[in-house]
């Protein structure tokens, strides 16, 4: 069988359908199969990324109908990079959750099915070239997220999940209305075709549709003030799911947002909108984070803040800025993954997951504390760790666009970030451990997962060139709208298409 992007979707779905049957054969299979599937997807990623780097975008036609008639998957350097990143993170998360909590085999089966579908959904969002298919994958992601958020009954997961569902339903409603209006205007659902025909759409309709998309996808991308659900969901979901939210789900949301703005529409104001909203999101989230008592909630707000930076960088819209933004997406996935993973072991047995009980854990859980500290150093952008490079690129891009105020804002907020992260790190390494706290011994899978992420942080930090060529190609691919359309629709008239920036 020829390796093709559709494997990203078809294989996990097939496996998901198979898993209830496999569980009847041996209960351990429910844990192993998702790992094997994701490992296979990793192999697919390697093969396809090599192809894409060598020969350019792969367009996978589904059901034999060429674009724009059928649905197609677009595996460009950009989408491919994101899909590969998500696959890699999914594998790490699988390792981490392999024996995360002793649960009955029945919930374990459901957990892994939901998890695998969540991964499939996010990858589908990124790969698809069809706007309605995008919506379908968004819903797959959403529904599995809701269910996973409420997975544990001994927490307020249901509350978080309900809030998520409430706001998420708004998102899907708005996106659906936007798709509907868009369909009446362009008569197609293929993104490339939409991009070609967008020129002829009357401006007020264009803006109407754009607003609906921006609100809907803003919810998924955790934009302020649409992100009320996010901290709850991050903190109440099982830790591996929290990691998945930070590493995959929100990335898919941001992807949607920028795909709409960069490819589908040609509205200049949307870029400034991204910058402004990104800045507001960043400030609000980081300021909320500094006062958090619960570690996971703090991490959640911090994650939202980072998404704000990503939005700002995409909003600047130059090649360098987009490069920085994609780099930051990658770094954020890896680093926030490590922070969530190690953080949840740190607060495993503390009341309310609160930071104040963490005194002296550096002695008791040296390895986990080390991972957490590494993550903290990296996420605030201290060299020589991965986070530094993306920050540097973004700031350079902003400086080249004379946005000194914006840089000052980002850096000012970074100081806030430093305060709350280093408070935790300081607490970990000073003072006497409070009595009676029970340490949770991490599973082997967990340790391996965290070590992998830590190694990535160090390697990328010391030698960013392992990753930058891919990101360069990704940034070029995202910005080159004409190339995107051409690869999907070879015969399209590109005369109306102009790359905005």
């Amino acid at each position: 069988m020829v390796i093709s992007p559709v494997h990203y979707i078809a294989v996990p779905l097939l496996a998901a359908f198979l898993m209830p049957l496999l569980a009847k054969i041996h209960r351990e299979l429910t844990r192993i199969v998702p790992g094997l599937v994701i490992l296979y997807l990793g192999y697919v990623s390697v093969v396809l990324m090599n192809q894409v780097m060598a020969h350019g975008t792969i367009v996978e036609v589904i059901a034999g109908w060429n674009a724009p008639w059928g649905i197609n998957l677009v595996y460009s350097p950009f989408t491919g990079f994101l899909a590969s990143m998500m696959t890699a993170m999914a594998f790490v998360i699988w390792l981490y959750s392999y024996r995360f909590k002793k649960v009955d085999s029945q919930p374990a089966l459901k957990y892994f099915i939901l998890f695998m579908m969540l991964v499939t959904g996010t990858i589908g969002i990124v790969l698809t070239g069809d706007i309605f298919n995008f919506f379908v994958f968004l819903e797959i992601t959403a529904i599995s997220s809701y269910s996973l958020t409420a997975f544990y009954r001994d927490r307020d997961g249901a509350e978080a999940a309900f809030k998520y569902l409430l706001i998420g339903s708004f998102a899907s409603a708005f996106i659906l209305i936007a798709i509907l209006l868009l369909y009446t205007q362009v008569g197609t659902l293929n993104m490339a075709q939409i991009a070609v025909r967008m020129h002829d759409v009357p401006t007020h309709m264009k803006i109407t549709i754009l607003i609906l998309f921006l609100v809907g996808l803003g919810i998924e991308a955790e934009m302020f003030p649409l992100n009320g659900w996010a901290p709850d969901a991050y903190s109440q979901a099982p830790s591996p799911v929290g990691v998945t939210f930070a590493a995959l789900v929100v990335k898919a949301g941001v992807y949607g947002l920028i795909r709409i703005i960069f490819t589908l529409f040609d509205v200049h104001g949307a870029y400034e909108y991204l910058i402004v909203m990104g800045a507001i999101t960043l400030v609000m989230a980081e300021l909320a984070a500094i006062r958090q008592k619960s570690l996971k909630r703090m991490l959640a707000y911090s994650s939202i803040g980072q998404m704000g930076v990503v939005m700002i960088a995409f909003g600047i819209g130059t090649n360098e800025a987009v490069f920085g933004a994609i780099f930051l997406m990658f770094n954020h996935a890896v680093i926030k993954g490590l922070l969530f993973m190690s953080g949840s072991y740190l607060v495993y047995n503390t009341p309310n997951k609160e930071i104040q009980y963490l005194s002296g854990y550096g002695m008791k859980m040296p390895l986990i504390s080390l991972f957490f500290s590494l993550g903290a150093l990296a996420i605030v952008g201290l060299p020589p760790f991965a986070g530094f490079w993306s920050k540097l690129y973004i700031l350079i891009a902003a400086a080249d666009n004379q946005m000194i105020g914006l840089i000052a804002l980002i850096l000012g907020v970074s100081i806030v970030e430093i305060v709350y992260y280093f408070r935790v790190v300081g607490r970990l390494y000073f003072g006497k451990p409070s009595k009676g706290s029970i340490m949770q011994k991490p599973t082997y899978g967990g340790v391996i997962a965290m070590s992998l992420l830590a190694i990535v942080i160090l390697v990328v930090g010391f030698y960013p060139d392992v990753i930058t060529p891919y990101i360069h190609n990704a940034a070029d691919a995202l910005l080159d709208k004409a190339q995107y359309i051409h690869s999907v629709l070879p015969n399209a008239d590109l005369s109306q298409i102009q790359n905005l920036k």
């Binding site: 659900w229 902003a398 004379q402 850096l411 390494y429 000073f430 030698y463």
Partner: protein, 615 residues
Amino acid sequence: MNSLLLIILILLGGAILAYLSKRISPMLSSIVSFLAITSAALVFFFLANDQEIVKISLGDFVLEWGLNAYSWIFGAMVMVMATLASLFSIFYMKGKDRLGYFNLNFDLSVMAMMGILFSLDWVSFFIFWEIMTWSSFLIIVYNGISEGKIGIKYMIFSAIGGYAMLLALVVTRSQIHSFLITDLIHSFAGFSGNMQALLGLLFLTAFGVKSAVMPLHVWAPRAYADSPMSYTAIFSGLLSKMGIFGFGIMLIAVFSHSVDGTIFVYREVLAWLAAITSVIATFYAVIQTDAKRLLAYSSIAQLGYIVMGLAIGTKLAVMAALFLAIMHAIYKGTLFMVVGAVERQTGITDMTRLGALIRKMPWTFFAALLSIIALAGIPPLGGFVGKWMLYESLITSDHYFLIILAFLSSTAAFLYSFRFLFGIFLGQEEKEFENVKEVPFTMVLPMLIGSLLLVVFGTFPGLLFKPLASAMSFLGMGDVSWNMSMLSNGWGDHVDTLDVINSVVIIFVLVAIFLGLKNRKRTRYVSTKDIHTSGEIPTENENLTYAVDFYKPFERAIAPVMKRKMDFYYNKFGEGLETFFDFLRRVYTGNGQTYAFYVIVFLVILIVFSQQIFF
């Protein structure tokens, strides 16, 4: 292999090895750390030269490292003192927890400092700068004093400084499309006035934090005092010098290319700030009862002198500043080691409780004595030459008010210098320290080497003038002519150090002989109770040693100045901010319906203002 790269790699490898070898034996970890620093020092002194250039391509940046006369002198200082401190550290840290962690960060700090000095471009400068920051943060919290708050404060100020630098360097890059420091130096004059002012302010803030210039100094006293002493020896002595190093580049090399008025204002303001810093910090040092704190404040004061010299910017002033910087690194390093030794043997550093250790720890006392002499600027040791040059430069550059401040602070410095010596080594013997012994040889040795260096450089300042002169010509100050005892240049900045020293030494020796003869045979031993009590009979547990309320009158005199600490305002500001943040985050009410409401409000806002937003 390139020796610069080799030094960095040795230190990095040493850091990692030290961390790993803790598993085998904690002592081994310290030894590994010492060996790594020593071998790096050997490489530095015997292999490194200014011909070598390292170019590393990372991301889209080219990191360039090289060595020049200016960085060599700082590098030599770092390597020597770091070697001494790490040697000292072996026994000082013996038996403490998490030595792997400590030594890892210790070596990383040293590596970062060397990296800063090697950096020819701002990116690597910034990278090493930040490594230095976080590795020192991790050591500050190591002792776990005061709930990590001081660590946070240090981190906040370092971040302000670091980010000011980051902002400055990305702005620089957007102007000249290069990260090279030399490019900035050459093109600075071409920038617009606003840009010069902005960059100047940002860079000065960045370096001001590390060299603890007011009002960015509040982190320093506690940070210096709370770290393990073997680290403070390089923290106070060397890390702060990185700020000085940066100031040197900015104030001398970069600004000298600018003719813009704002830069002169900056220099004057900075000189004043530095002078005020040194006065206030000296006052604080005087009223401290804890030896560590005393030294910490004293460090800030001394850094004030150095920055003052750089800010004045005449040849003599710069020379003085650099000379003082080196001297400060040596004597403050030694003094912190002394305090460390005392702390190790007695467990405390409170000068009101210590006393009479002179007989228990003679070598330590000897090192302390020499360093204090140097610190106070008494001939013939190194401190004197530097101070003399500084005063002379202040006078020749017509900064008469500054010289009053400088005199004030250096006079007050005598007070704390004496208190330090007296409080710890002289005075009455306390019972609890009866069995105190001298520290082991590996701790004595670095202290003695330090004192020896002070004597050598004090007597023959010319040894230092040679590299300093070439450093200054590298900075663009032109030639400085010098000989073993003479420093002069074409404009009459002329100091004959040997003459001055000789005359002062002769006076001192004569006075000493006179006093020695006079007081011979009049020594008497007294008990704790043998003091003037004005008719009141002190109870047993009342501590009435001289060391208590040592400078009460002085404290009363300076009380108005001390009333409000800078710290107080920062804390209030921070609390205010946090309250504000707390208020802000109440938008997350926890009610899902409210969030839904926000969504609709946001949608309506977008709808209503769509014209303004998207066109």
